[in-house]
């Protein structure tokens, strides 16, 4: 399964983060627990050591018995000899050691001095047994703190013999200081131990044994005061498993079957936790441990940690046991840890959500891009628009992947737009049937049909009868993959003839099979009509030029001939007058001169008739568009200008219609332009241009024909007939043009002030103002 980028980002940013947080938390959870346990054990160990030190310190004074015994030996104090000194010595020692319950001395004679604390009669009681040569006296003395005697009593029934006692025997045997196992003191019912030390004379003989009873209930008191967590405890076990010290001192004493008090064994004590703690110890007589042992146990659903450690002194084969509920150390930390886990979880959730948000934000441009690409492929969005904010990688992808789409869409759209919005008519035509597959509104307008009507028609339906072979030609051209391009006549819906230029190519599919022909159609009717008009104008002009050239020649001849004819008639008249002055006038001479005059007039009449004849074809005057006339006239001279590389520029701004004979004016224009063309062609100027400029001045339109030719020789009278600068000219053109312009109410002149160009000017009457006036002339 492929994961989406969004899912991957969500997992990375949210999931992995959660895992990281939890792993850190759990790691610290585990390590902190271990540290805590280590700490707890260390604490327990410290407690044990503390208890050991305290116990040692507690028992330390007992060691003083060795010193005491030494001093007794040095002073050779024996019980039998001087019990009073001995008693005082022991009393003093008892007084300074509060943990001592009693001090005693017994010698090999069986004498015995025993000073102990008392709770009745006096605070101290002394028991003295003197046994010299079988004479045994047992005496009890009660004393105050100041050693004063409170009471005295003798006991004849006393049978106590120190030499029978275990402590005496042990010392006698070992000749060294000994410690008894703890036991319950008979008198005080308190736990205690006895330390006994031999008193040896300088000769090496044992004189006696001194003993100290030490109450160890104070150790229990100390233990009960030790604060070990909330529920922890320290107990001290003897090697046989007896509990000799316990925070609750009452628990360590139990009554034996014979009514004597003894220590409770660890297996018997009414402390189930302690039992559980040491239940794991081997069930042997000696429970002493050699090294520190840490362990864990469960009791009552709670976990406890415990430590067993040896006292570290051979004379005291005790084991210190410390146990405490684990929770006492780790509880608060566990609570804190639980809280931390929740906080971490909450942080993980929050950061996870932020991660999801961030992932969403990171993925958004990608998603936008995907949406955009989707829309672009459907064409619902323009891919050429700016890409939404995204990543360079995606922009590159966009460039490469969307490029195809863009090109395809653009070409599709361009074709569609070209088709529908083209200024010319367009059609897709079936190459086989000639049926119109698709047409645009322009074609419909050209043909006069609606687009729907055309789609039901064939190409052959619009053919003009005179151009009925058009379709066959079209089909041939298209199927041969030639480009069809013809101007032919077609029929408009209203039956009128229209000229269409049809340009068609065949479109094939990727297998070469013909799909359709695409045709562009231009309505060239107006152009054709214009061509017809121009051709007509050309015909009219050539006829007019012929006729008018004759007329102008006739007029010129008339003028030239009329001048001498006039001179003839005048001279004839002068001759007749001279003849009449003379008295002898000859009637025949008069007749001759009169006929001469008449012949001259007859010649003038013939000339006048000839001129009248050729002047009949003058045409009629009317208002017309001069700009249009210029455009048409330019067509007539264009080829001639092109041959000589001359460009003709027409420039007219808002000129009114002019009034006159359209064909005559056209002849003037053509004459002037041809003169300019010839002037440029015969010269050698760099710039070859003719400007035709028309502008309205007062009630006239003034027309300039300028050329860049060599100009006019000032010696030539331009407008005189039969004068010309052209080698092959007759000199009639300009005078003819001038007479035409003047006949149309205007003037024609050569602008001598035009410096750079040769400029001929003529004026034409504006149609609006001059129509009435000129029609009267």
């Amino acid at each position: 399964m492929k994961l989406s980028l969004g899912a991957i980002l969500a997992i990375c940013l949210a999931g992995l983060q959660l895992i990281a947080v939890l792993s850190v938390v759990l790691s610290s959870y585990v390590t902190s627990e271990r540290v805590l346990l280590d700490h707890a054990r260390s604490l327990l160990s410290d407690l044990g050591l503390n208890a050991i030190e305290h116990s040692k310190g507690f028992l330390q004074p007992a060691r003083g018995t060795a010193e005491l015994a030494k001093r007794l030996a040095e002073n050779e104090i024996v019980a039998s000899d001087n019990p009073e000194i001995l008693e005082k010595l022991l009393f003093q020692n008892l007084q300074i050691s509060p943990q001592f319950s009693g001090l005693y001395y017994g010698d090999q004679t069986g004498s015995f001095v025993y000073v102990m604390r008392s709770s009745s009669i006096g605070p101290y009681r002394t028991k003295i047994i003197t046994n010299s040569k079988g004479d045994r006296v047992t005496k009890f003395i009660w004393r105050n703190e100041d050693y004063s005697v409170v009471g005295t009593r003798f006991d004849a029934t006393d049978t106590f013999d120190p030499r029978e006692r275990p402590w005496y025997k042990n010392v006698l045997r070992t000749r060294d200081i000994i410690w008894t196992d703890p036991y319950i003191f008979f008198s005080s019912k308190k736990p205690g131990i006895t330390a006994a030390s031999p008193v040896i004379k300088s000769n090496g003989q044992l004189d006696g044994v001194i003993g100290v009873d030490i109450e160890i209930d104070a150790i229990s008191d100390f233990l009960s005061n030790l604060k070990i967590g909330n529920n922890g405890a320290v107990i001290i076990l003897n090697r046989n498993g007896d509990v000799i010290a316990h925070p609750n001192p009452d628990l360590i004493k139990i009554e034996d079957a014979d009514g004597t008090l003894k220590f409770a064994n660890i297996n018997e004590i009414l402390d189930p936790i302690a039992q559980a703690a040491f239940g794991t110890l081997p069930k042997t007589d000696d429970v002493t441990v050699q090294t520190e042992i840490s362990s864990k146990f469960k009791h009552g659903g709670k976990t406890y940690v415990s430590t067993l450690m040896p006292m570290g002194q051979s004379e005291l084969p005790w084991t210190i046991a410390v146990y405490v509920p684990e929770d006492d150390f780790t509880g608060g930390i566990k609570d804190n840890r639980t809280r931390n886990i929740w906080i971490a979880f909450a942080i993980a959730v929050i950061t996870g959500l932020l991660g999801l948000k961030l992932a969403d934000r990171i993925i958004k441009p990608v998603r936008d891009f995907a949406v955009r690409a989707e829309l672009a492929s459907k064409g619902e969005v323009d891919v050429s628009k700016d890409l939404p904010k995204t990543y360079p990688e995606l922009e590159d992808a966009n460039d490469t992947l969307v490029h195809e789409i863009v090109q395809r869409k653009i070409s599709e759209r361009e074709y569609g737009q070209t088709f529908d919005l083209a200024s010319r008519g367009m059609a897709e035509i079936s190459p086989n049937t000639g049926r119109f597959i698709r047409v645009n509104s322009q074609l419909a307008d050209i043909l006069g049909y609606s687009a729907d009507e055309i789609l039901g028609m064939r190409f052959s339906d619009i053919l003009h009868p005179d151009d009925s072979d058009t379709y066959a030609f079209f089909q041939d051209a298209v199927h041969e993959d030639y480009e069809y391009n013809q101007e032919k006549r077609y029929l408009h819906k209203d039956g009128s003839t229209i000229w269409l230029r049809v340009n068609a190519i065949l479109i094939r599919d990727e297998h070469g099979k013909p799909l359709h022909a695409v045709a562009t159609v231009d309505d060239v009717t107006a152009q054709k009509v214009s061509e017809v008009k121009i051709n007509g104008l050309s015909r009219d002009l050539s006829h007019f030029a012929r006729v008018n050239m004759m007329g102008e020649m006739a007029a010129g001849l008339a003028h030239e001939l009329n001048q001498p004819l006039t001179a003839i008639t005048q001279n004839a008249d002068a001759a007749l007058s001279t003849l009449q002055e003379q008295t002898t006038s000859d009637p025949e001479l008069t007749q001759i001169l009169t006929e001469l005059d008449q012949q001259a007039h007859r010649g003038a009449d013939i000339i006048r008739a000839l001129r009248g004849f050729v002047r009949k074809d003058e045409g009629s005057k009317a208002a017309f568009d001069f700009s249009e006339l210029v455009e048409q006239a330019l067509h007539l001279v264009q080829s001639e200008a092109s041959v000589h590389g001359i460009s003709i520029v027409f420039n007219a701004e808002n000129i009114p219609n002019v009034f006159g004979n359209r064909i005559q004016i056209a002849q003037v224009l053509v004459n002037l332009i041809r003169n300019s063309i010839e002037a440029i062609a015969s010269g050698n100027t760099a710039l070859k241009q003719i400007d035709v400029i028309a502008k309205e001045i007062d009630n006239f339109v003034e027309v300039w024909v300028e050329d860049t030719g060599a100009g006019v020789n000032p010696d030539i009278n331009l407008f005189t007939q039969f004068e010309t600068s052209k080698s092959d000219g007759m000199g009639l053109g300009l005078s003819f043009s001038r007479s035409i312009v003047e006949a149309n109410g205007g003037q024609l002149w050569y602008d001598v002030n035009s410096a750079e160009k040769s400029r001929f000017c003529f004026t034409l009457a504006s149609a609006v103002v001059n129509e009435e006036v000129l029609s009267n002339v």
Binding site: A558, T566, I568, Q570, E581, D597
Partner: protein, 209 residues
């Protein structure tokens, strides 16, 4: 009033025309002056000599019509007869409208030309006569006193009420004084009635200024 002091001014650029025409007309008793161009004629003519102008229409530079316009603008009253080698209807209409005696197409019958010249001379003489009368009248008018000129002007301008009473009321003088002035005016102007004074005044354009 003799034709002897009238002159035919001939303007034509054609030497043959000038020589033959002047010779023929001289033979017929006319006094001819020749000019080869409009400009040459204008340089010489100052308006004093009377007669007529025989003018060729088609000449280089200033043509006949242009010279006609120039004469009108200068106030010369010399009558003009156009002669042309190629008579165009539009040009002749224009010339006749501007006051030409005739527009003759070359070559013309000599009788036609002479008739035209005589008609032009009559016009010239009538003009000359009119100008002389006007000149005389002006001289006489200038002899009047200021008061008499004032009264004469009132009588001419207000011809419906020319009685002495009306004029006396306007000028705030007695009708008798007006009568006296009136008699003096008629006497000095050498006329018989107020009606004649009005007529002469209009013809001589006495009070136009």
């Amino acid at each position: 009033m003799s034709e002897a002091n009238l002159t035919v001014f001939l303007v034509d650029d054609d030497e043959d025309i000038r020589s033959s025409l002047s010779r023929a007309l001289t033979k017929r008793g006319f006094h001819i002056e020749n000019f080869a161009s409009a400009e040459e004629f204008l340089d010489t003519y100052n308006g004093e000599k009377s007669g007529c102008l025989l003018l060729d229409y088609g000449m280089p530079r200033m043509n006949g019509l242009e010279l006609q316009q120039h004469m009108i603008s200068k106030g010369y009253s010399l009558p003009i007869i156009f002669i042309t080698g190629h008579g165009g209807i539009p040009e002749s209409v224009q010339a006749m409208k501007a006051g030409a005696i005739d527009f003759l197409e070359k070559p013309f019958r000599q009788k036609t030309l002479v008739d035209c010249i005589n008609a032009a001379f009559e016009t010239a003489l009538a003009t000359q006569e009119h100008e002389k009368k006007t000149k005389d009248l002006r001289i006489k008018f200038e002899r009047l006193t200021d008061r008499e000129k004032e009264i004469a002007q009132l009588m001419v301008s207000n011809s419906s009420s020319t009685s002495s009473k009306d004029i006396g009321r306007i000028l705030n003088i007695s009708p008798r004084t007006v009568d006296h002035h009136r008699a003096r005016i008629l006497d000095k102007m050498n006329i018989n009635s107020v009606t004649e004074l009005v007529d002469l005044s209009i013809r001589a354009n006495l009070f136009s200024k």
